[in-house]
């Protein structure tokens, strides 16, 4: 049985530092470069991290969906590693969305939360992927864990388009989309540039988190393989 030798991630330290600097610059741009929104005022600046976090969560869950399908087709452990890694990163970004949203909403709406279509489907999305991660913790056999969670992950992804379309299909307390939202939607050019910069910063962070989390799964696999060899070796010597 061959063992995949683990290596450190090349350039991780530099990437983490670059990401931290980029996130700092994005925060500065959102606070001081972006113009003040006319109706909501300065509180709208939370948008520059809230919205990209949502989009990146969708991207992460899409990666999980594709990885889950690949696993069900080819049963390759690496597909499972990618699926769970991206799901966990997606949960982190969804958590940011669910925390920053109410902080923004309270001064604007007067309440922390409403059970409208957008917020409710987003909360369900978060719960679904928490369940995906918990489900894996309940199963010991690696192949069964990967198969069951892949099937669950395929169905959990069905909520992603529901979240995206919720404030297009229904009247919601959550604002209507500002990008690709139709005739009356849109952002001022300066806002678009800051939004793009924040999106790039958060995407860089997402890639780093995904890479490190994937490394964790690879190491788990290596440890389990080595334990099997060590156990069979000690049984042979006894």
């Amino acid at each position: 049985m061959s063992i995949q030798r683990s290596r450190g991630i090349p350039g991780l330290g530099v990437s983490v530092l670059a990401s931290a600097l980029l996130m700092g610059a994005a925060g500065y741009a959102a606070l001081y470069v972006a113009p003040t929104e006319r109706s909501m005022g300065d509180i709208q600046r939370i948008f520059y991290f809230h919205m990209p976090s949502g989009i990146i969560a969708f991207i992460a869950f899409t990666i999980t969906f594709v990885a889950n399908i690949l696993y069900l087709v080819n049963r390759a452990p690496k597909s499972d590693w990618l699926g769970v890694s991206s799901a966990e990163v997606g949960v982190a970004f969804t958590t940011v969305m669910l925390v920053t949203g109410p902080i923004w909403g309270k001064p604007v709406w007067g309440v922390w939360w409403v059970w409208d279509a957008r917020l409710t489907t987003t909360f369900i999305l978060w719960v679904l992927y928490i369940c995906y991660l918990l489900l894996r913790g309940l199963l010991d056999d690696p192949e069964r864990k990967a198969t069951v969670s892949a099937v669950f992950g395929v169905f959990a992804f069905l909520d992603v388009p529901l979240v995206y379309m919720a404030n297009r299909w229904f009247r919601t307390q959550h604002p209507a989309p500002v990008l690709l939202g139709g005739q009356n939607s849109g952002l001022a050019p300066e806002m678009k540039w800051v939004l793009l910069f924040c999106f790039i910063a958060l995407t860089g962070l997402m890639l780093i988190l995904l890479r490190v989390r994937y490394q964790l799964e690879a190491l788990r696999y290596e440890v389990s393989e080595m334990k099997v060899i060590a156990d069979s070796g000690s049984r042979a010597s006894n």
């Binding site: 983490v16 509180i43 925390v99 902080i103 309270k106 780093i208 988190l209 490190v212 964790l216 190491l219």
Partner: protein, 49 residues
């Protein structure tokens, strides 16, 4: 800047969530690397026998 407290709370929460998540994953990776080294030594000992 109006609502500065809420803006700062949102930004600090964003940083904190990512910071905590990254460091929990990194510490798990570090523990697993220690396990790998320990198992390499165990396997090395078994081979020498």
């Amino acid at each position: 800047m109006k609502n500065m407290g809420s803006i700062m709370a949102a930004y600090i929460a964003t940083w904190a969530i990512f910071f905590v998540y990254y460091f929990t994953v990194a510490s798990r990776v570090s523990r697993l690397r220690d396990d790998v080294e320990r198992l390499k030594q165990t396997l090395g000992t078994q081979l020498r026998r």
